[in-house]
C-alpha cells in the first residue's frame, strides 16, 4: 500500500510541476519577455492558481504522514534552500494576487510585477536546487559534522545548481506552451512560439549540464540512466517527442502542444523516479532512506490511501469542472473579475 501512496505522491508532484510550473514559469516568462506576457499570463492563470498550489501541500502531507523520515531528513539537511523557496512562495503568491486585485494604478502595479517576476525566478531556481539536493545523496544524518558539511554541501554543488537552472528553463518553457495555447491573435502566437523554441533549446543544453554536473559532483547519473530500462525508455520517448513539439510550435495546435509538453515532463519525472526507486533519499553515509525503511506502518498507509482516494473522487471532477468553465472556451480574454 505504501507503494500506491508513493505513486500518488509522485503524481501530485508531477501535477505540481506541470500545472504549478506553468504558473511559476509565467513570472519567469514575463521577466524574459520584459513584461509582454504580463496581461496574458495572469489572466489565464488567475482562476486556477489557488488550486494549483494545493498539489504541493498534498505532496508535503503525504510525506509526513506516510514517509515521515523523508520529510524530516529533507527539511533538516536542506533547511536553507527550502527556507528560500518558502520566502519566494510568500512574495510570489501575494504579489500575484495583489497585482490582480489592487486598483488600477501604474506605480504599485509595476512594483508588484517586479516582485512577482523576480520571486518566480528565485523560487523556481531554489526548488530545482532542493530537488537536486534530494537526488544527489550528500545529505547526512550525522549532525556532529561541521555546519558546512551538514547544511550547505548537500545543495551547494554543481549538480544541484544546474538542476536549479534546469527547473527555471523547464517552468518558463511550460508557461510559454501554456501561453501559446491560450492565445488567439497571430502576432502573439508567433512571438511566444519563438520564445518557446528558444527555451526548448536552452532546456536541452542545460539538461546536458545536469548530467555533466552530476558526474562532477560524484553521482554517476548517466550510467544509472543507461542501466535502468524504464528511464532509458522514458528519456528516449521524451527526446523523440522533441521534433513533434517543434512542428506544432511552428503550426500551433492548442491541444497537441499541451499534451506533448505534458507528456515530456511526465517522461522526465518518470525517468528520474525509475533510477531513484526504491531509494527515496540517498545519504552521504550510504545507508539510504528507502521505501521500505521510511514507510509508516500499513495501517497508516491504509487510512492515508482512503483519504487520498476520497480526495481523488471529489477533487478530480471539480477540477475538471473548473478547467472546463475557465479554459476550453475561446474567449479567454473575457475573463474579467467583475
Amino acid at each position: 500500500m505504501a507503494e500506491i501512496n508513493l505513486l500518488i505522491l509522485v503524481v501530485c508532484l508531477l501535477l505540481y510541476v506541470i500545472l504549478g510550473g506553468a504558473d511559476f514559469g509565467g513570472g519567469i516568462l514575463e521577466l524574459l519577455t520584459r513584461g509582454k506576457a504580463a496581461g496574458i499570463v495572469s489572466k489565464a492563470i488567475a482562476p486556477v492558481w489557488e488550486a494549483n498550489h494545493v498539489w504541493l501541500i498534498l505532496v508535503v502531507v503525504i510525506l509526513f504522514v506516510g514517509f515521515p523520515t523523508v520529510y524530516s531528513t529533507v527539511l533538516t539537511g536542506l533547511h536553507i534552500p527550502v527556507l528560500l523557496v518558502l520566502l519566494g512562495i510568500i512574495f510570489r503568491g501575494t504579489a500575484f494576487t495583489f497585482r490582480h486585485y489592487d486598483i488600477e494604478e501604474a506605480r504599485p502595479k509595476a512594483i508588484y510585477s517586479i516582485v512577482f517576476q523576480y520571486s518566480s525566478l528565485f523560487t523556481t531556481f531554489f526548488l530545482g536546487v532542493t530537488l537536486g539536493g534530494i537526488i544527489l545523496g550528500k545529505i547526512t544524518l550525522d549532525y556532529t559534522y561541521d555546519f558546512y558539511t551538514v547544511f550547505v554541501l548537500p545543495w551547494l554543488n554543481i549538480f544541484a545548481v544546474s538542476m536549479g537552472f534546469f527547473m527555471v528553463l523547464l517552468f518558463a518553457f511550460l508557461a510559454a506552451i501554456f501561453t501559446v495555447s491560450e492565445l488567439n491573435d497571430e502576432k502573439h502566437i508567433t512571438y511566444f512560439s519563438k520564445v518557446a523554441k528558444r527555451l526548448l533549446l536552452g532546456l536541452v543544453l542545460v539538461g546536458a549540464l545536469v548530467f555533466g554536473g552530476a558526474q562532477l559532483s560524484g553521482h554517476p547519473l548517466l550510467s544509472e540512466f543507461l542501466q535502468s530500462p524504464v528511464s532509458l525508455i522514458s528519456i528516449t520517448l521524451a527526446t523523440l517527442a522533441l521534433p513533434f513539439l517543434w512542428h506544432f510550435l511552428n503550426k500551433p495546435n492548442r491541444t497537441l502542444l499541451r499534451l506533448i509538453a505534458g507528456f515530456q515532463t511526465t517522461m522526465i519525472v518518470t525517468g528520474w523516479f525509475a533510477i531513484q526507486f526504491p531509494v527515496l533519499i540517498k545519504l552521504k553515509e550510504g545507508m539510504d532512506i528507502t521505501l521500505q525503511n521510511a514507510a509508516a506502518p500499513p495501517k497508516i498507509q491504509f487510512y492515508l490511501l482512503i483519504a487520498l482516494l476520497f480526495g481523488v473522487l471529489v477533487i478530480f471532477p471539480s477540477i475538471a469542472y473548473l478547467y472546463k468553465v475557465f479554459k476550453f472556451s475561446n474567449d479567454s480574454n473575457a475573463i474579467n473579475n467583475s
Binding site: 509526513f64 504522514v65 501575494t94 549532525y143 547544511f151 477533487i315
Partner: protein
Amino acid sequence: MDALMAARLQMGVSLGFHIIFACIGMVMPWFMFVAEWKWLRTNNPVYLDLAKAWSKGVAIFFAVGAVSGTVLSFEMGMLWPKFMEHAGPIFGMPFSWEGTAFFLEAIALGLFLYGRNRLNKRVHLYAGLVVGIAGVLSGIFVVAANAWMNAPAGFDWVNGHAENIDPVKAMFNKAWFSQAHHMTIAAFSATGFAVAGVHAVLYLRNKLEIHKKAITIALAFASVAAILQPLSGDLAAKNVAKLQPAKLAAFESHFETQKKAPLIIGGIPNEEKQEIKYAIKLPGFLSFLAHGDFNTEVKGLEEFPKEEWPPVPITHYSFQIMVGIGMFLMLIAVIFLAGTFKWEHWLEKKWWLKLLFIATPLGFIAVEAGWIVTEVGRQPWIIYGIMLTKDSLTPMPGIQYTFYTVSAVYLLLSFVVIWLLSRQIKMLHKKYLSNG
C-alpha cells in the same frame, strides 16, 4: 536568544499570522453567500455591490492565508523534525482530509470569484456556500491535529517510539471536540465583529446603505457566536481541568491545591514566590468552573515538578484577556439582539457605531490570546506528557536569523494588506459618491 526560544517564537509568529487569515477565509465566504443570496431574492443592487466588494477582500486574504499555510506545513518539519517524524503518521489523518477540504475550497473559490459572468446564478451562489463549508471543515481538521498534541491518543509509546498506531483514535482524541467548537465559534465572532466594526466606521463617515447591510449581516453571525462563546469556553476549561491540570493551574495562577478553589480575576502572578497579587478572588468558583461543584479539589501548580510548569504569567494574562473580551463581546451581542426590533433606529446612534468600532480588533486579540493559552500552556511539552519541545528542536544553527527574517516578512505583509484594503474601500466610496 537561544535557538529553542527562537524556534518557538518563529512557530508562534507564523501560526499567529496564519490564524487571522484562516479565520477570515473560513467565515467571509458565509457572509458573501448571504449577501449574494439576498441579492438574488430582493434584487436590491446594494447586496450585489456588497458581495462583489467583499469578494475582492476575500481573494486578497485567501492568498495570504494560502501562502502562510503552505509555509507552515514546511515549517513544522524545519523547526521540529523529531516531533514530525513521530507525530506525522499519528496525527496526520486530519491533515490528509484537510488536503481535500483545501482543494474543494480553492476550486469553489475560483468558481465564485471569477465565475460570476460564466456560471448559472444558482451554481455560482452554491459555489460560495461550498467555500464556506470546506473552510470550516479544514479549520476543524487542523484543530483536531492540534488537540492531539494536548491529548495524545491512538498509540502506545514504547522506548521512545510509537507503536500500535490508530489514526482514528488519534484524530478523535479527548480534546478535539472541545477545541474544534470553541475555535469555529471564535472565528465567526472575531471575523464578524471585525467586519461590522470596519463598516461602522465607514458608516459614521458616509451614510451609505451598503454599510448598513454589511453591519447587519456580520453582526447576525457574530452575535450568535459571541453568546455561545463563553459557554463553549466553559466546556473547554472543564476539559483542560481533566486533561491538563498543570495548564489550568497556570492560566488561573492557581499555586496551591485547594478545595473551594477561588476563581482569580486579574492580578500579577509571581512564579518565584508562588503567589498572585492584586487579584479579585471568588472563593469556590474555580472548583465550580473546573468540575461543576463548589467543593471539589483543584490541583495547584505545587503538585507538579517545577520543570513541568508552563510559563505562568503569559498564560495567565492571555487567559484574562480572552475571557475579558469574551464577556465584553457577549454584552454587545446581547444589546444587538435585544435591540433588533428597533434596529434602524440604533444604527443612527453614534454610541452604537462607536461601540462597534471599539470591538473591531477585539475578537482577533482574543483568538491570539486563546492560542497562547493553549500552546504556551502546553509547555514544556510538544506532545503532552510524551515528548519535550526542546527534544524535538532542529539541529540547524542560527534559527534566530530565520526568526527575524520570517517576522520581518510577515510584518511587511501585514502593512501591505492593510494598505490594500483601505485602497479598496476608498474606491468603493468614490464609485458610490460619483453615482450620487
